[in-house]
């Protein structure tokens, strides 16, 4: 997966991130792969440690593994909930898992995006910057999950703007293009809209994913004991 830098926004400085993963080897690998636009200011290997480090450093972005030991066993979602009151800190979930329940758990806990660990360094740095700017980061796989969960593939789209349980036709278009492997810039070019508009659509979808009571989401979650 590759994501372009949003309009090549010139970074005033590197974005500080805290890296949370229980595998030391993986943390080392991620730190080495991130480019100069991102600076790792702290690391943590468990839920409790992560909560402590995040509260202490208050970084703009936390790169968070979904599966973490410690705490009450809630993994990354628990870290997000425990740090919900830390202002200005956003979470980007980073996982090796393809399982729908993992994705839904961290996104509904409040993560601003979900990328798989197969992502390369440049794309991950882009994703971190994007999250730091307040945007959502959708990998093709997450877009696929969204289309699946909202029944958008079967043409079930919203007619009103404020509907939480269905995607709008435009959001569905954007999700489909992302699932097809388009970068945000390519999506913008394909739909003749600005990158900012693409980001707005993606953020709206993220909000629906977090707030919707759509029965598929609930059924998934219930079948997997999420809610």
């Amino acid at each position: 997966m590759t994501q372009d830098v949003a309009g090549a926004t010139s970074p005033a400085g590197a974005v500080d991130v805290v890296l949370v993963d229980d595998h030391h080897l993986f943390r080392t690998g991620v730190r080495a792969s991130l480019d100069e636009r991102v600076r790792v200011v702290g690391e943590a290997a468990s839920v409790d440690e992560a909560v402590r480090v995040v509260r202490e450093l208050r970084p703009p972005v936390v790169l968070l593994d979904v599966h973490l030991p410690g705490g009450d066993g809630g993994g990354g979602a628990e870290v997000i909930r425990s740090c919900g009151d830390v202002p200005g800190t956003r979470f980007l979930a980073l996982s090796v898992s393809d399982a729908a329940e993992d994705v839904v758990a961290v996104i509904r806990a409040g993560a601003r995006g979900y990328v798989t660990k197969a992502i390369d360094g440049a794309a991950l740095s882009d994703a971190v910057r994007r999250v730091a700017d307040g945007d959502a980061v959708f990998s093709p796989r997450l877009a696929g999950f969204v289309l699946d969960a909202f029944g958008a593939a079967a043409g079930d789209v919203a007619t009103g703007d404020d509907e939480l349980d269905r995607l709008s036709a435009r959001e569905r278009e954007v999700m489909r293009l992302i699932a097809r492997g388009y970068t945000y810039r390519e999506v913008a070019g394909e739909l003749f809209i600005s990158i900012k508009t693409v980001e707005t659509h993606v953020s709206a979808v993220l909000r629906k994913l977090q707030l919707s009571n759509r029965n598929e989401l609930t059924r998934w979650a219930a079948a997997r004991r999420l809610l």
Binding site: G74, G75, R81, A105, A179
Partner: protein
């Protein structure tokens, strides 16, 4: 009722409920009070006070304590509750228990009512005994019945209760009435037997009394035997669960040995060939991923699984222009049972993938969507792109093997390629409309309630 007033605040947030076990830690005598408190989610102090009060009033507390001491096995309540989760979840991370996410189900305050009833009963018995209004011959059987029922019920942990309830016809008022009715009948029987009831009309009373008395004997025996029987049964279930866990562990070990360990050994042996190492690692990752996360549908029932097999074959057998292995980023939305048309679509998809891997540049993206009337496939790469019209008709096999194959089946196919932006192949295959129920959801039987 100040006993329950503090209960809500002290409930441990970790698990909704512990199993009924006597914990080793925090016990004063035998851990009965601690176990009961953990099981019911009551404050430990309150349970202890209740035991002491009940012990002072006629010795019920002592009897109950001794009984539970005998019948409740030692162990950690929360570990037991955690172990009761299905083993399929054990290999994944623990699930968050967020009280804010729990849907608010209207629930009877059973615990409060039970404690209230207990207190009222104890108080009434105390008053009655002091004023000599109540015959001790009535009090003891009544207490025995209540204690026995509570005991039998408390022997069942949450999971078993749920199973019993569902077997009795779900959590409907009807099943509750059935259980309550049974308890009431048994109780009345015991009372009639022990309590020398006299009714008007000797014959009828005698008849009823003898019938009820025989039932009461049965019920009484059942009550006495139930705890021991349950214990035996539970030991059996424990053993069975241990066997299942053992089998699961052996399964995982065998799998890791057959696949992962062998691949690692191969990788070490071929460490001088990075392309081969990358390919083996990718194949192993794919296989392990499938084993861990997939629903493993039956063969021939899932288009998604068939597509994954195609992707695996292409990833394993084809290399990029520089000889390096290429991973295909696959996203699938929806699923359906494959048929002849989708078989042709998959064949075309395979050719498009081979083209993208061999002639394009990674990352190669593959998206399959099962819509309401057609299956769509997009294959995208990031190569230089080319002008389709300028390509000789025999090259790449694009025209025949990809486009022709789909169009002959009534589908549509197109190739979009702009220089510098890569190539995207779009295939769409309509299918005969079926009732929405049959293809709306993924065929995952485990998700069915």
């Amino acid at each position: 009722m100040d006993l329950t007033a503090g209960a809500a605040a002290v409930v441990r947030p970790r698990t909704p409920r512990g199993a009924l076990r006597r914990p080793e830690r925090g016990r004063w005598v035998a851990g009965v009070a601690a176990g009961v408190a953990a099981h019911l989610g009551l404050p430990l102090k309150g349970v202890r006070v209740a035991f002491v009060v009940a012990a002072l009033l006629g010795g019920t507390g002592v009897v109950l304590y001794a009984f539970w001491w005998l019948t409740v096995p030692p162990g950690d309540p929360y570990d037991e509750a955690a172990a009761a989760r299905p083993s399929a979840f054990a290999r994944l991370a623990g699930r968050p228990h967020d009280p804010a996410c729990v849907p608010h189900v209207r629930r009877w305050p059973v615990t409060d009512i039970a404690v209230g009833l207990l207190l009222v009963t104890v108080a009434a018995v105390g008053v009655a005994m002091r004023t000599d209004r109540l015959d001790a011959g009535w009090v003891l059987p009544a207490l025995v019945v209540i204690a026995g029922a509570a005991l039998a019920w408390s022997q069942l942990d949450e999971v078993t209760r749920g199973r019993w309830r569902s077997r009795a016809g779900g959590r409907t008022p009807f099943s509750v009435v059935r259980v309550l009715g049974g308890v009431v009948v048994a109780g009345v029987g015991v009372l009639l037997l022990v309590g020398r009831a006299t009714g008007p009309g000797v014959d009828a009373a005698m008849f009823v009394q003898s019938v009820v008395a025989s039932l009461a004997v049965l019920a009484g025996v059942a009550l006495v035997v139930a705890p021991w029987w349950l214990r035996l049964w539970r030991a059996l279930a424990d053993e069975r669960a241990a066997h299942a866990r053992e089998a699961e562990r052996a399964d995982i070990a065998a799998h890791l040995h057959d696949s992962v360990l062998q691949t690692l050994a191969l990788i070490r042996a071929r460490a001088d060939d990075p392309a081969e190492v990358a390919r083996m690692a990718r194949a192993q990752e794919r296989e392990l991923r499938e084993w861990l996360y997939d629903d493993r549908p039956a063969p021939g029932t899932s288009l998604a699984a068939a597509l994954r097999a195609v992707v695996a074959e292409v990833e394993d057998s084809r290399s990029g222009p520089g000889g390096e292995p290429v991973a295909v980023d696959t996203v699938v939305v929806g699923d359906r049972v494959p048929d002849e048309a989708t078989a042709a679509l998959l064949q075309a998809t395979r050719e498009a993938l081979v083209n993208a891997v061999v002639h394009g540049r990674p990352p190669v993206s593959l998206y399959l969507e099962v819509g309401s009337s057609e299956v769509e496939v997009f294959v995208k790469d990031r190569g230089e792109g080319f002008d389709l019209e300028a390509v000789p008709s025999d090259r790449f096999g694009v025209r025949e093997s990809i486009l022709g194959r789909v169009r002959r089946r009534g589908g549509t196919a197109s190739v979009t390629s702009r220089p510098g932006q890569g190539t995207e192949v779009h295939l769409a295959m309509p299918f005969a409309p079926v009732p929405p129920d049959e293809h709306a959801g993924r065929p995952t039987p485990e998700e069915e309630p």
